[in-house]
């Protein structure tokens, strides 16, 4: 088990290192180089000075080493647009993204598993049909458009909810926060919810054919207990895999959602940075999000060990 832990940890470190290499190489190898792309109005002399001071003439691996050294010391560079250290911009907005994505995750998993279990129990009923239609619609609808439609319906037409943003500090309350969070978190988690639902349903159906479930029924244990304790516990494993695999998409969805709902997180910040060519900022955000996803994936895998003792031995 210790061996597994060490191996898994090493994999995560290597993976993150590869992300830093990719991020760096893509940006540096861009035609024209980052300095030119960032500011097309510079004169030739200014360009040369910049190349000199930024060390852009050094071999790529020297530049990478310098950049990586900076990262390890917490120096992510300075945003071209804002003129502020990248890390402080990220730190300021990261909590908002984490709030949005964790609420989205909770809603997606709760709804997805609930609907998945019900569909499996009422297999081939009208409810099952409705849920699977809802699922495929959720997988097919572009998140940004779903956001726009929900804004149109609930904020513009019905005026029940705000069009976007976060509550201002003077009328901040939990209820107000919830009113601002509900639409974006449903949109950001929609894709994951549909996947969790599909996998829960099929895992429950697969498990309920197993002998130990039949045995539990034969022992006269109430059906509800059979399903929610005996079947669900074993159906959890594939579902956890789906959640782990869905984390990158959850953050992508959150970034798009933040843009549509003007939610001040790092996703919308990253998209703006990409649109305006703010290289240090988009690089910093990519690294931070990758780190979060890689660590979360590691935790997902470790939770496997707790749920399934067989993993320890493989």
């Amino acid at each position: 088990m210790a061996g597994y832990l060490v191996r898994r940890l090493a994999q995560s470190v290597i993976l993150f290192w590869i992300v830093t290499v990719l991020t760096f190489v893509i940006i540096r190898q861009a035609p024209g180089g980052p300095a030119i792309l960032a500011n097309p109005d510079l004169s030739k002399e200014q360009m040369e000075t910049l190349t000199e001071t930024l060390g852009l003439a050094d071999p790529l691996y020297v530049q990478y080493g310098r950049w990586l050294g900076g990262l390890l010391r917490g120096d992510f560079g300075t945003s071209f647009n804002e003129g502020v250290p990248v890390l402080s911009l990220i730190a300021e907005r990261l909590p908002n993204t984490l709030m949005l994505s964790s609420v989205a995750l909770v809603i997606a998993v709760a709804l997805g598993m609930g609907l998945g279990i019900l569909s499996a129990v009422k297999r081939n009923s009208w409810f099952d049909g409705l849920a699977s239609t809802l699922g495929v619609l959720n997988l097919s609808v572009p998140a940004f458009w779903l956001g726009i439609v929900l804004i149109l319906l609930f904020a513009v037409e019905l005026r029940w909810l705000p069009v976007g943003g976060m509550p201002r500090s003077r009328d901040w309350s939990l209820i107000e926060l919830a009113r601002h969070l509900i639409l974006p978190s449903v949109v950001a988690g929609g894709f994951l919810m549909a996947n969790v639902m599909r996998y829960t349903r099929s895992a429950m159906l697969e498990v309920s054919d197993q002998l130990y479930v039949t045995a539990a029924r034969a022992m006269g244990i109430r059906e509800r207990r059979v399903l929610l304790v005996y079947a669900l516990k074993n159906a959890m494993l594939p579902v956890i895999t789906v959640i782990g695999l869905g984390l990158p998409q959850l953050f992508a969805g959150a970034a798009i959602t933040e843009t549509v709902f003007a939610w001040p997180g790092i996703g919308s910040l990253g998209i703006t940075a990409a649109r305006t060519g703010d290289f240090p900022l988009i690089m910093g955000i990519t690294l931070v999000v990758s780190l979060i996803v890689i660590v979360a994936n590691l935790l997902t895998d470790l939770s496997y060990m707790l749920l399934d003792p067989r993993v320890k031995f493989s």
Binding site: Q11, L15, I18, V19, L22, T23, I26, I27, Q29, A30, P31, P34, L37, V136, L137, L139, S140, V141, P142, A143, F144, W145, I148, V149, I151, L152, V156, L245, L247, P248, Q249, F251, A252, A255, I256, T259, V260, G270, I271, A273, A274, R275, G277, F279, I282, M283, I285, T286, V289, S290, V293, I294, N297
Partner: protein
């Protein structure tokens, strides 16, 4: 050998029509409600955006600043957008762009998926272990943010979108192809081919890969759905297909600003994307049911 007697055409009293697996799958598909719905929907969309412009010959990029956000009229059946451009013409042109970019990205994705999956499955051993690690690794990083980086450092042309999306979405296909090839490698007729001295390439392409055809077709439809939805999101965010060339995604970029004045502008392109992606997703699900009788 009783195998010949068990052959369906013999068993059914020799009607002359050979019941091949393909024919059986086709029969099942024709009875599959959702699948037929998806196919008809998809063909209808392709037909409309494909030959629509022949019958509706209006320039989708002609700006008319006197006539912006006009409601539908005889001249502009779906009205005009914030720059006075004809919405119907833009929908038809944008649909062609979205469909072509999506299908091209799907082709890249499937080709790479088959290549890597077949390599991993057929050669096994350390090749397989490395490729699996690579696949798991790629799937565990938020690729969307790497797309952002790519598209800031290269000009976002249709070709670069195709390559960016195609080269980062082949992993699910590779996984399925790998497991099918892995299974096929152990089949008796493959063993027979091997003992007859067939070359590795012949065994892989002639004997193993055909076993994965159904899975590849299913992955391809799902890959198309993914590619189309990705292109639309990137274009919506302003880093995909660039105006004035319309795509269903970038038609929505400005729509949010005019949500109060012209809500319809925000509805048509998004609904079009939904229908197209839905048709691919439903088609994929139906093909999975039909081609895999066990499922």
């Amino acid at each position: 050998m009783s195998a010949a007697l068990d052959h369906p055409s013999v068993a059914e009293g020799g009607t002359g029509v050979v019941e091949t697996p393909g024919r059986r799958a086709l029969k099942r598909f024709l009875r599959h409600g959702k699948g037929m719905f998806a196919l008809v929907l998809l063909l209808a969309i392709i037909l409309v955006v494909g030959i629509g412009p022949i019958f509706y010959d209006v320039d989708p990029t002609r700006i008319d600043l006197v006539n912006t956000m006009a409601p539908s009229s005889a001249e502009h059946p779906l009205g005009t957008d914030e720059n006075g451009r004809d919405v119907l013409a833009r929908l038809l042109e944008g649909g062609r762009v979205s469909l072509m970019v999506g299908l091209a990205a799907m082709a890249v994705s499937v080709a790479l998926g088959v290549l890597f999956g077949a390599t991993a499955g057929y050669f096994g051993g350390w090749v397989d272990r490395i490729l699996i690690q690579v696949i798991d690794g790629i799937m565990a990083i938020p690729l969307f943010f790497l797309w952002l980086i790519f598209l800031t450092s290269i000009p976002p042309t249709p070709l670069s979108i195709v390559l960016v999306v195609g080269c980062t979405s082949w992993m699910p296909t590779a996984r399925v192809v790998r497991s099918e090839v892995l299974k096929a490698r152990e089949l008796e007729f493959v063993e027979a081919a091997r003992s007859l001295g067939a070359t590795r390439m012949r065994i892989l392409f002639r004997h193993c890969l055909p076993q994965a055809t159904s899975s590849i077709i299913v992955s391809a439809t799902l890959a198309a759905a993914f590619a189309i939805i990705s292109e639309s999101a990137l274009s919506f965010l302003g880093i995909g297909i660039q105006p004035p060339r319309p795509s269903w995604g970038n038609m929505l970029t400005g729509a949010q600003e005019y949500l109060f004045a012209a809500p319809a502008l925000a509805l048509y392109p998004g609904f079009a994307i939904l229908l197209l992606v839905l048709s691919f997703n439903l088609l994929g699900d139906a093909l999975r049911d039909v081609l895999n009788p066990r499922g």
